[in-house]
Each structure stands twice: as C-alpha cells, then as structure tokens.
Symmetry: D2
Subunit: 388 residues, 4 copies
C-alpha cells in the first residue's frame, strides 16, 4: 500500500524530523522509538509499512531540506550520522517540495495545490496521499459567512477576499484532491462546517487537532489521576518556555491565545470543574528546539489537607511530534483504505483538542485507539462506531 | 449493612485519620474528598454507608485516640474544628480499642484476637467485620517451613517459636474469626501459602497490599504514558524524604528494602524493561507527617533525542491513605456479602503491589475497579471473574 | 530610646505580622528568627530594643487588628497561641490605628497625617517615630511638574489636583512631622526630587525601596555566583504565583509592571548584561498568603557547554517581610539618632531596588550593612560615608 | 613566564577538557567562559598567559587523548569543531603523557615521577611546573604512623608497604621535584603532616581540595543567604545523580563517604548548626558526563512559619571544572613566583573543602581571592597574610 505523506510546512522542524526519521526507518538506520504504531497493541497488516511512505510537501520557505536537517543536527534534535547517511535520499525528497501556490484568487491557489497533490500521487503511483498540516500556528481567523456552507464557500473563493485562513485553504485543496487530512496544529484547518461537509461528500476521513506532545500529554494522565482518586484540585498553573520557530510564532498574542485555550481544555473536561490558574507560553530564543514546561498543582485530600505537586518537562517538540506524524499518516491511510469517513474520533490519543472525542484522558484514548487498530487489522470497514 | 472496621495499628496516624474522617462523614461535618467509593462510577447500593461503619482496633501504644487526633491537628493533617466537634464520638471509639494480645504461644495470642473480634461483632450486631492492617511496616520475616501448610502452621503456633510475623498473626486471627482482611502495608500479612489456603477454606475475600498514595501513584500513570508513547525511559531515579512514625520505621534498612522493592515494581512491569536508577527513602524528622518525593526521569524520543522530566510530590500520607482505608473496608465488605473468596485482584487500583493483579497501570486498574463495583451493585455474586 | 513604628497600611498582612511579632518578642513569647538585627554581626547598643517599640498606623480598611491576626493564624502565617496570648496588647495597638486622613486638598490630608504622627509621638513620649510604608503596591504615578521642586509641590498640594500618589503623600507628611521614613513597597513613596530635597532640609534619613523577600532574594545570591564563576547566563525566566491581598493588587497590570521591573534589575546590574527571559506575576487566590516562585536559568560553561538550574521558592511573604520591617525601623531610628541624613544606601541589603546603592549582590550588601551597624554602635555620626 | 601544567589523571574527562580548552584559548578558537582569572577583578600581569601554559601528565589509562576528546564531543561536553581544529596540538600533548610509574618500592615509583617532571620542565624550558591532581577519587586511606613525620615517611617508602595512597605519592614526588601542587579531588593528596612539612621545607605553595563545581557551589551561596537573613534551616537534603567515570568510582561506598562528608561541611560551618538531612550520591550511567543534583531545604521564618525551597542543578562537571584547573594552575604558579609557601587559604573559592580556610561562604571567599590577586599583581611577595 504505497502511501504519500504530503506535509504542509515541509521545511519546518517537525516535518524535517519526520522525513529524516521516515527515511532512516526505511533504511534500517534507526529504530521506531516514539512511533506508537510500532507497539504490539497497534502494529498490524492494515498499516502501510515505513518503506511504503513517500514524502512531499509545500513550504513558503526555500532553505534546502538538507540544510534544515543539518541545523537540527547542530541543535541536538537529529544525530549527525543520520544526516550524513541520508544526504542522497533527502535530495530525492527535495525534488518533491513545492513553494506556496500562486494565483489571483484563493480558488486559483487551491487548484494549484490540487495539481501538486494529483501529480505527486500519479508520478509515484501512490494508493493515496495523506495531507498533514505541520506549518506554524495561525492566529484565530476572522469568521466569514461562507465558512458555514459548501456552495457559499466555493462562490466566495472565486472572489477577491481571503475567505479562508491558509491552513483551511490547504485542507480544502486536500478534499478536492480526494486526500485524507490530518491537522497537527491548533490552526483552523478542516474545522469549518463547509469543509467538514465537503469531506463527508468526498467520503474522506480526517483527524485533528493540535498534536499532544509535552505538558498537555502529562496533564492528560495526571488530571485523570486526581479525578480517579477524588482529590480536589484547587489550582493548576503552568508556564511553557520555548525557543525555535514555533516559539517565535506563539509570541504573537493571538496565536498564543489559541494554543493556551487548547492546553487548558483537558483540565475542565477531565476534572469536571476548572481549577484556578492558567497556562503561559513564553518565547526564550536561547532554548532553541527544546521546551521547558513547569506546572504547579495544588490539591486537597481528605478533610481538606492541602498538598502540592510540581513537574518540569524538558522535551524536544520535534522529536516528540515527528514519530506521531508518521503514526497519523499510517493510521489515516488505513482508515481511508477501510472506507472510513469523517472525523476520526478514535485518534484523540494524539491530540490536545481532539475532534469529536468524548475524553481527554490518555488511558481512555489509548483504549479507543487500540480497539480502532484491531478493527482495522481485522479488515474493519466504515461500520466501526466512530462517534464520540 | 452494619460493618465493623477493625484497625490493626488503631492509634497510628492513618488509623486515627480514618476514624476521625469516618465519624466526620457520618456527622455530615466533612465531604468525601479522597474517597474513591463516592465517585459516580463506584457509588451504589452494595456498599455499606459511612453511617453503617463502626470502628475498633488493636494497638501496642496507649496514647488516647483524642490526643492522637490533637497531635494530627497540630501537624496540619486534620482540622482542629473536627477534633473539637468529635470529642464524644472519639471517646466512644476509644472504648473499642484493645491492647496487643497476650498469651504464652502465638496460638494463644491469636485466640485472644479472635475473642476481641467476635465480641466486637456481637456487641454491635455487625453483619461483618473487615480487619485492616495499618500498623508500622515490618522487616521481611524469616522463612519458616510452617508458612507453606495450614496443618503445619497450626502445630507450630502451639510451640514456643515466633512462627509468624505480627502482621500475619493478625491475618491468621482474622481468618479464624471469619473476617475479610485488607493489608494496607508492605508487611507480610496474609501473603503466606498457609494463610491463603485457610482464607480459601473459610470462604473469605482479602485484599492488599501496600497502599498506593504518593510517588508510586504518580508512577502508575506516568510509566504507562511513556509506554503508550513508545518513549524509551533510560533512567528513573527517586528519593522520598519523610518524617513521622512511618519515616522512623523505614529508616530501619530491612523495612526500607521491602518498601523500595514494592515501589520500583511498577516500572519494570509497566515498561517491559527496568530503567537505570533506584528509589531511596530517607527519614527527615523535620518534615513531620508530610512527605516530599522527587523523581528524575530521562528518556529518549525519535532518533534518540535525549529528554527529561522531573516531579516533586509534597503530600500527607495520612490524608491520602485514610479515605482509601474507608473505601477498602466498604468494597471488601461488599465483596464478602456477595460471596467472593480469595484475593480481590480488582482492587489493584489501591495498592503498590497488588495481589494477583496483572497490571500496575492506574488507568487499567480503574477500568477493572469500576467493572467490579458495577458487578457488585448489580447483585454480583462469587461468579465474577476475579483472576488477573 | 523609645521608638514609634508608624505603619502605613497598618491592617495589612505584613503590618499585622510585624505588630504581632513585635509584641511577642517584647513579651518573650517568640524568638527573633528572621530578624537580621539580632545576628551577632548587627546587634548592639545603638538600636532600640524590641521592648522600646510602640506601634501605630493608618489604614483605609477598618477590620479590627485582632480579626486580621486571627485570619493570619487560620492561614498558617502566625501561630494561634500568639494571637490568643496577645489579645490585650493588640487591643492597645488598635487604639493607635487611624483611618485614612480626610480633607479637601492633599495639603489638608497631609496636615491630618502630621497631626496623627505628632500626637502619637507626644502621647507616648517617643524619641522619634519611624514611618514605614507597607500598604498595597500602587500603579506607577502620572508625572507632574511639581514633583521636581519643593516650592512648586507645596503650592500644587493646595490646589484641587491629586498631585501626589498616596504613598508619596504619606512620605511628605512624614517629612513635615520630622519622621524618618522607610518604603517597603515598590510604590513611589519618597522617590521624587521634591520630597528628597525636603527630607534633606529636614535633616532626615530615609530608606527603600521594595523589600527583598523571595525570588529576588535568591536571585541576589545566585546571580553573583554565576558572575563570580564567569559563567554565561543565557536566559533567566521566572514566574511568581501568589494569592493574598498583594496578589490581587498585582493582578492589575500597571502594578505588575512596576514590580516586575524591580525584580529583573538585579540581573542586569549583577551580571553586566541582560539575559533572555522575564518574570511573570500571576494571581492564584488558592495559594493564600503563600507564594510559589519558579525560575529556570540556562547558562553555558567552558567551551560553550549548555547547562541549567531551576529553583522553586515556596515562602510566606508576610513571615519574611515582618521581621525586616522591625529591623528597618530599628536601624533607621538609630541612623536618625546618629544624625544621618538622606538615602541610607547601606540598607540596600533589605531591598529589591535599593536607593542609591551601587550593588545588588547580597554578599556585598551584607558587608556594607555590617560596617554600617558597627559604625552606629561605635557612636557613629553623620560622617559615615553613605554614598554608593 | 612559561608554566607547565602536569595533570595526574591526564586522560580523564576533566584533564582532557582542560587541555582542549587551554589549546583552544591559545589558538583564539574559544573564549574564557568559566575562567575566573579572566574576570576584571582577577586579571593581571602576575598570571602566566594561556599561551604560556604547556601540558603534560600521567595516567594509568592509555586511550589516546584525541579519542578521549572525540568521546567528550560525542557526549556534548566539547564542540566537535574544536576537536577537529586541534588534532595536531593534541598530538603534541600526547607526546608529553606518561604511563603510571613503575618500580619495586613506592620510593622507586616516586623517583620515576620526579624524573618525568624534571625532564618535562627542562625540555620545555619552563619556569615551573604546577602538578594538578584530577584523577579518580580514592577511598579514604588507612592511617600509617609514617604519615606524621618526614623522616619516618622516607624510611617507610623504601620498604615493601603501600605506605601512601597514590594521590599522596604524586604529591610527594611533586614536592621532591620542587613543583607547586593543587589537589582538585577529595583524595588525600598533600594532606598528611609529613607531606605538609616537606612542602614547607621545599618552600612550595599548594592548594586544595576538591573542586567546588556543582551542588556545593550553590550551597555556598544559599547557606549564607539563610544565615544572613537569620532564617532557621530545619532540613537540607540532597541527592546527586551522576554517570561518567567519576560516578562509577563514587558508587564505591568508601569513596562516596569521603565525597559526601566534604559536601555537607559547608552547611554546618556557614549556618553555625547542622540541619537535618544528608546528601546522597547515586551512579546512573545513563546520565553520562552530566550530573543532576536536587536539594530540598525546609526553613522557618518569623514566628516559626514553615517554608521551603528546592533546586535542581543540571551541570557538566568537566565543563565546570576544566576552566578552574587552568585558573588554579595560573594562580598557584604566580604564588610560587611570588615566593609564597604552604597552603593557599585564599584559594578557598575553588574548593569544597578548602585548606586552612576560615569560611565556606562564596562571597567571603571571593573577597579574599580578589585581594590575593591584587596583591600578586602589585608584586606581592610571601609576606601576604595567608592565614585563615
């Protein structure tokens, strides 16, 4: 099952790490640490092999992929030996990267993306192409009436307005090109009624959104712990210090707000009440591709005794996100092959703000994910109950 | 369903907090924070009400219960207003506390305990008495051939030797008196083949062992998180600083070893491999009834990128343990009423080193616990599959 | 040497703790933990004894002092036994507390304050009264031309405008009443050219500003450590989570900005460069009178090796500030008695943003402070070199 | 002033980093981050320039220096670009490294070392050679009567016994060869009465011992902070997790004990009392050349209010120690040139357990160090008061 992985933001840190890792796995130069789909509970015949993945993508930037990989090696994200060993393979992927589409209207630009996707699929004789958005986080978009309705949307895109945020324009193009779609960022992507309706019409599955890679991952096991023990969380305050491209983007207050909201949701929904405190994101260039999060949780136990917990998470977002990008491409491809349509709520395990998912608890998300994988491997088709 | 809760170590911090809390709940002076059995997923008709719990117990010490409660209030474990409001009720419980049993042989002393238990049950017209061991941690006992066989054990107890460690002598007496038994400590308790066989004969359920209240609780959600994400944990090192009675006991190297072993088990069994590092317990009197644990976890992600997490847990063991003692008394009583026999593997949620339990993951333990409770509330009898 | 301690904000947490502590020390009910002036290097005959301190003050609020002390005991800041033992003495101090002054103009209100101060001094036959501002942090004031010149200021105060922020109006009144003045907050207080000139004219010493009690105290020893070791600090980021009255005030962005600026100054001036990162103050009501600060410092050593340090400070600001308030009252009284005039740069040890002080390093500030105390005890007069 | 730096343990991590760094500084390829002697307060004409340092040494191991440097680059301690640029220079130093000395008696082996030192000094026309012990920590040695007296020592060394621990044999040889000596480890080195007497006779200065590079460095500023603020430290507990060669050595309980004792001394001597708690050293191979220390400090303030502080230090010992090795070589050479004799108490700034030093406070040590350097630069001779 030859599968294309089309990365929107293909020269970014997450995408570059995904590509280097995918190539290294194919060449047997690295193991699948961090790849959930290689765990015994998920592995199986329905998923495309790493060797069957073919990479391509769009990016505004033009730095050669090899340079990006070298920069990541310098920053300690990727081992130098892999960059050295995979120069030729990276050069091959470089040929599949496209600049941002041009055109007078958003409809024109969407058409250009569709042509890129179609050509990629045909040239490589791919069974399907999964489009994955790993580009920089956008500010929350301005509402537009055309967001609600497919016909109105099509009409509006022919006009002069920037009707859709960029992430959604790519999602729209993915749907037009019959590609399943994954949103790994907090941007809008496919989350507009008009786009969801179009994906449904096109019988496409999609997943999202906002990859759960650090502080929120930890929250999604600690918050259920407090809930299962009936301990009363009084406050939960966090700060995220991060450098790197994403940090600079998130220094923009509008993008920050989108991300922070996504991060706190897990608490209210898991605990059943919202503790005091909030989450901050601060840009500290010095931290490079690594991120340090610190959280303080105060809680009370029996008869009101006050207690507290702190944690510090020092992680590399790219190294945590990249294997999940490969996992999501494999799982979404398999869901598409099995005829599944609409939001893949069973993939909530991967996301801070899971589409249509009823739970933020990592344990419960894991139970759903493993059931989903078993269903696929058993030849499961669209009948699997995918509703939250 | 009137239920006795007989506490071995009845004047210790955990027992005193359990008693004050149980009385406060009965009087409507406190809410059930920390009581798992009051969560919607567990609550139901099969459990005895808090108002139906009657407290008694044994202790070597003779400090009046009221004094112990005052000391805990001074230490910030219990609110002063509860101690003041419950003086009379504590005086009533005081009447039900017995000194350590006397007798020439261990058999004599076991008989004395049986008489105490039987008299307690009869005087209060209780449907059953659950014996809960919350006494100080013992060193690992010396092996004895009589541990393996009921008949040999009975014979040996009539002789001059200290055949059983004290915790096991109480467990033996509980079985003789037809009382279900819970071991909340890492001591031997009922975990000897001869005692297990006797409990089986007497058609009694039992649960244990070693209440999971702090660092290990956190481990039991974090270790599955790393496992579910296929992240490779390279080292997991921890230190526990604690004052209070338990701390002084654990300063004894033999007891320390028992506890530490119990604390590390969760890692190997959850991750499938044992990371480097160990856990230390240090006694720091100054910390009083509170405990501070610090853990450092180093792990690697995709392509080997090194990352790390730290957490500090600052908890009050008594305030965390006491509501679980009430939960265990209620659940074990209900299991007994339903005719269940043998180790209650479904109660693994509560323990560091769960009897017969196949998993250390808190999420999976929770799933089993809630299924168990549903079964009880549905009128479940002994047919429920209780095997790991 | 009978000395009045007049607290602006006399019913606040810091003031109440200072009063309870001062009375407890006088009565021999508590030791001088946290009182710097009781260390061997500072103790001596020039300082008024604790028994010679008489308390009074102003406050907008009207909650009785005893109630405030009870609330602090409930919050764990003050032991209940002291509140119980000192009820009568607190009642006596209550008689010396005055509401905010009234009057049509700021000049009128200043006169009212002067009358309160003078009456207090005369009724108690005090040698002098030290005015200490411990009221809530103000936002940065609007500039006014009269701030620069005593004559202009006097004229403007007779008009209808709010020429001075409240903290400065009290400082002005203190000067008019010939009282030495200490500013323990980041508010403006005496830091206006017109007021400094008036204090000089009146031959008064004064000290400030912004008591160094928590995160900044730690910074003032850690930053010199990095500097003395020639380690390059790349980033220093901090977050302060605090409840209590001060927290709520600081949630106001304008006050927050003033405080944060004061907190970061120590880094630039000690290191010789400003590392990346900033300090945040967040209000978390749940934390009550305690404050948790977390700082992350990244630094590089020889040949650029990256390293890091984190610290968490969990302190009670009132318990840290109150003994320093007593210290400052004693030292400023002694400086006044010795004829010292103008800003007391040798008291920089106590402040986040020390007046006229050349160093933020706690070690160097300590050297100056101990020299200053020796000079006073040796009968030092105004000749001591008080310049930075 | 051409100065030899003779490293005992010359192929270890600290020595290799010192050599690479010294060569890099000479070649202008790196700046002096971490070198205290390049700070404005210490820099000056009395110190040999980096370009005047010539490296040599002994080691039991035989791994080529270049391989060791490569391993350190792999571990993130040294930048690869420096190893690549300095291959030739490292080859030159390689020629100056000698294996462990051989001989039938300890006297023979000492003579062999003396020959190596003398030959090194003569071949390179060095003004002097400073011997610096940076070899692995030894267990505490067995006492021997000959340790007390030079004549008895000389006699005993001719016999068959291992009279001196290895570190002291090198110190003895250094003295015989008229070389000033620095002990950077907790081993015995020159700290035996017989050796001190011989150094005095030979008119040699020496310094030690146990470089202060991590947790203890932080303690030496935090403990004075608590002392200066008259805060009562109730407990101070620490754990050091470390990999690398030193970690494995310290896993040996005897060596561990020596190091731990050295680490805790700062508390008792700075605070004037010994708080509860201790320090642990644990070997965690996974941590490689980096070390993580965590400390918990509980303290009380005014009226007994309980507070706490935690810190985590994540440092690379080699990167912290190596520049100090260069500093010590320069300062000790200058002291020798100025005719100073005996223990250099003014160098206490560099050590966990400073020889003859009256203070463990980093601030006070800094004041002494800068005065010492000024004295040297002013042409200071042996008259400088070097007593604690």
């Amino acid at each position: 099952m030859r599968t294309g992985v089309w990365l929107v933001g293909a020269r970014g840190s997450v995408a570059t790490t995904s590509i280097v890792g995918g190539l290294a796995l194919r060449a047997g130069l690295a193991g699948p640490t961090g790849c959930v789909t290689e765990l015994p509970q998920l592995r199986g015949p329905a998923l495309p092999a790493f060797a069957d993945l073919v990479f391509g993508g769009h990016d505004l930037a033009t730095t050669p992929l090899c340079k990006r990989a070298e920069a990541l090696a310098d920053a300690g994200v990727i081992p130098w030996r892999l960059v050295a060993a995979l120069r030729d393979e990276l050069g091959v992927v470089e040929q599949e990267l496209r600049p941002a589409p041009v055109g007078d209207t958003q409809a024109d630009r969407a058409e250009a993306v569709v042509r890129d996707l179609t050509s990629f699929r045909e040239r490589h004789e791919l069974d399907r192409v999964v489009v994955v958005n790993v580009s920089a986080t956008e500010p929350a978009p301005r509402p537009h009436p055309a967001h609600a309705d497919p016909a109105a949307l099509r009409a509006a895109l022919d006009g002069p307005d920037e009707v859709l945020p960029v992430s959604s324009l790519y999602a729209y193009a993915a749907v037009l090109a019959s590609c399943p779609y994954v949103d790994f960022t907090p941007s809008t992507g496919l989350r507009l009624p008009a786009l969801a309706a179009l994906a449904e019409e096109a019988r496409l599955p999609y997943a999202g959104h906002d990859g759960k890679t650090g502080e929120t991952l930890v929250k999604s096991v600690l918050a259920p712990m407090f809930a299962m023990r009936n301990l009363a969380v009084g406050s939960w305050s966090g700060v995220n210090l991060l450098g790197g491209g994403d940090g600079a983007t998130l220094a923009d207050p509008a993008a920050n707000a989108a991300k922070v909201q996504s991060k706190q949701r897990v608490l209210g929904e898991t605990l059943g009440y919202v503790p005091q405190g909030g989450t901050r994101i601060e840009y500290v260039e010095e931290l490079g591709d690594f991120k340090t999060a610190w959280d303080l949780i105060t809680f009370s136990g029996f008869l009101g005794t006050g207690m507290r917990m702190e944690f510090t998470w020092h992680g590399c977002d790219s190294a945590l996100a990249a294997p999940l990008v490969l996992d999501l491409a494999r799982l979404t491809a398999a869901a598409h092959a099995a005829g599944q349509v609409g939001p893949l709520a069973d993939l909530g395990f991967f996301f801070k703000d899971p589409l249509g998912a009823p739970t933020h608890s990592l344990g419960e998300q894991w139970a759903r994910l493993t059931a989903f994988a078993r269903h696929l491997h058993d030849g499961g088709d669209g009948d699997h109950d995918n509703v939250g």
